[in-house]
């Protein structure tokens, strides 16, 4: 295990139960996150990106559980098997917020409207450090300033509704970074923000990666974001990682038909309004009634009889893996 790996997920399976039916939301996912690197998980809605993140944090909703696999956090003091911890056990809570922090999609709803920003940042510190009230305030001010919020002395006592969207997300990040976590999980952190603010938030996250060597797991469905921020990419479809590799591998030499289709469906500036955008035919299958074998097969142009069986992860290069019977560069 390389020493800069912060978290390893191996063959993770998280299932949801509903009216005696089972949704295999995450069905055998493996990846690792490295210090000072950003792993982007891409995929359309419902593919299991957020469930993967919630599994790592043990923040899954009721009626869902981790069935199989390992989530190993490589702490300084030794490895911690997160999947073995109780959801709200002391060990799990001491990891959450302190070692692994998470920011959410919509900063509007993710901040409590009843408390000041300062109070909400302070909460993290209060539970994981032995700081006094005045130390907490000093640290919160410092965090707000670091996250680029002007007039932090004034802003710290304001409520979320007095912040703009971009500032709220900055405050969320300040809250997440309060205890210098080793891992930051960002679940579509900019979907609710406009494009110029998006760029600022990403710049901020990129700085954190360089400055604090934080391992970042960024969940997104935006290929543009991937190109800009990712070091490594994992493409998810229906609960599986279908392709993973460095950002160059995946964006320049996509192997899986789904990755290719995703990339083909992005309009490119400068090609004019008549450019053909290839939509992916068909629609995502019902999560409770999944196809047999390769999940993408029913929508895939290259599908053959072989696809009725789930393909195995195949290495294209040392860094590049694909799960397909018919990758672009030849048979596995």
């Amino acid at each position: 295990m390389p020493s800069d790996t912060a978290l390893t997920v191996r063959n993770l399976k998280t299932y949801f139960y509903n009216n005696n039916r089972c949704n295999k939301a995450v069905n055998g996912v493996s990846f690792s996150i490295r210090r000072g690197k950003t792993l982007c998980i891409v995929g359309e809605s419902g593919c299991g990106k957020s469930v993967t993140a919630s599994s790592i944090m043990q923040l899954l909703p009721e009626l869902s559980r981790i069935e199989e696999g390992n989530i190993v956090y490589h702490a300084k003091t030794g490895d911690v098997h997160i999947e073995r911890l109780e959801r709200n056990s002391d060990e799990m809570r001491s990891l959450r917020g302190a070692e692994i922090a998470m920011i959410f999609q919509d900063p509007m709803t993710a901040l409590n409207p009843a408390y000041t920003i300062g109070f909400q940042i302070g909460e993290t510190l209060k539970y994981h450090t032995a700081m006094s009230a005045s130390e907490i305030r000093t640290r919160s001010l410092e965090l707000l300033r670091d996250m680029g919020i002007s007039l932090p002395e004034q802003r710290i006592d304001e409520y979320p509704h007095q912040y703009s969207g971009g500032m709220r997300q900055r405050a969320m990040i300040a809250m997440a970074m309060a205890c210098n976590p080793k891992i930051l999980i960002a679940d579509e952190p900019t979907t609710a923000l406009d494009v110029t603010i998006q760029a600022q938030i990403f710049e901020l996250m990129d700085n954190l990666k360089v400055e604090y060597k934080t391992a970042i797991m960024l969940i997104t469905h935006d290929m543009g974001v991937v190109a800009e921020l990712a070091d490594e990419v994992a493409v998810m479809y229906m609960g599986n990682i279908v392709e993973s590799g460095t950002v160059d591998d995946v964006l320049r030499r996509p192997q899986h038909p789904y990755t290719q289709a995703l990339l083909d469906s992005i309009p490119v500036l400068g090609r004019g309004k008549q450019q053909k955008i290839k939509a992916i035919s068909g629609s995502t299958p019902d999560a409770y009634d999944r196809p047999v074998g390769c999940q993408f097969a029913p929508r895939c142009e290259k599908a053959t009889i072989a696809c009725n069986e789930m393909p195995l992860d195949t290495s294209i290069t040392t860094s590049h893996t694909v799960r397909c019977w018919h990758p672009r560069d030849g048979a596995p």
């Binding site: 944090m57 923040l59 709200n88 799990m92 809570r93 001491s94 990891l95 959450r96 917020g97 302190a98 922090a101 998470m102 959410f104 919509d106 709803t109 993710a110 901040l111 409590n112 409207p113 009843a114 408390y115 000041t116 909460e123 993290t124 539970y127 994981h128 409520y159 509704h161 969320m172 809250m175 997440a176």
Partner: protein, 321 residues
Amino acid sequence: MLTYIIRRILILIPMLFGISFLVYLGLEFTPGDAVSHMIPPDLANQVSAEKLEAIRESLGLNKSFLHRYWSWLSHAVRGDFGHSISGGVSISKIVLDRLPATLELSAAALIISTILGIMLGTYSALHKGTYTDSGLTAVGMLGVSIPEFFFGLVAILIFALKLGWLPVGGRLMPGMESWIDHLPNIILPALVLSLMMTAGVMRYSRSSMLDALNKEFVKTARAKGMPEWRVNFLHGFRVALTPVVVIIGFRLPTLIGGSVIIEEVFQWPGVGAEFIQAVRGQDYPLVMMIALFSVFAMLMASLIVDVLTAWIDPRVRLGEE
């Protein structure tokens, strides 16, 4: 904030005028008048029509509607609410005598229902889907749907008559000195009066709490690694409280209205019991006074709700357009 409260209180004045007119008009349209209620039915044919007319004339009941309203109003604004037609006692004195009893009962019921309702509702929400939760929900449904006077009668039957634990009714008995002495008297009426509101507050806090616990910020709080009780109370309960406070505030007048019937059932000597007699006897000065008092309580309650909401929820700012 202060200017807002002052403005709201000033708006009360024209509203009270308008409502007093409507109540007076309502009394005008009810059949009969105070005099026809003064004469016992079996004596009605022994009293001559001239005699009745003379009584009406002396009480000023023969003047036109507007004339009478104006005369009532001009006295009322000077603080003179007149005398009871049937008893001849000054209205202010009646109300001052009776008001403490009503306020005592309403306050007791309010405290019981607020504490019990919020506690049970929150418990229910935190134990969603358990038998306790379903049981409380069923009891809550019963509480909201069965009228209070029925509960009152059943409670008297069981606790006062059958078991003999508590007195049947009344407030102060000879020999009662401190408030502890008459505590047993208030238990039954206060519990019965609070029952419907407890059930309402309970159901409301349950859904409000469930709603709050489903919010994203509760997940954020969990992601910070806080203990579950702190997540539930600091983040869930705190936010769930705002709508519950609004509901409790708006139930305040209902509590006073509801006590009209409960006071009658338990022979509680409050404004409510007096009100029923006044309406029966078409004792218009008394009806006017009590009706205006209730309206005033209602309007004040809505003001209190606004101020409390602004205090609890930082997003609400009073008096801003």
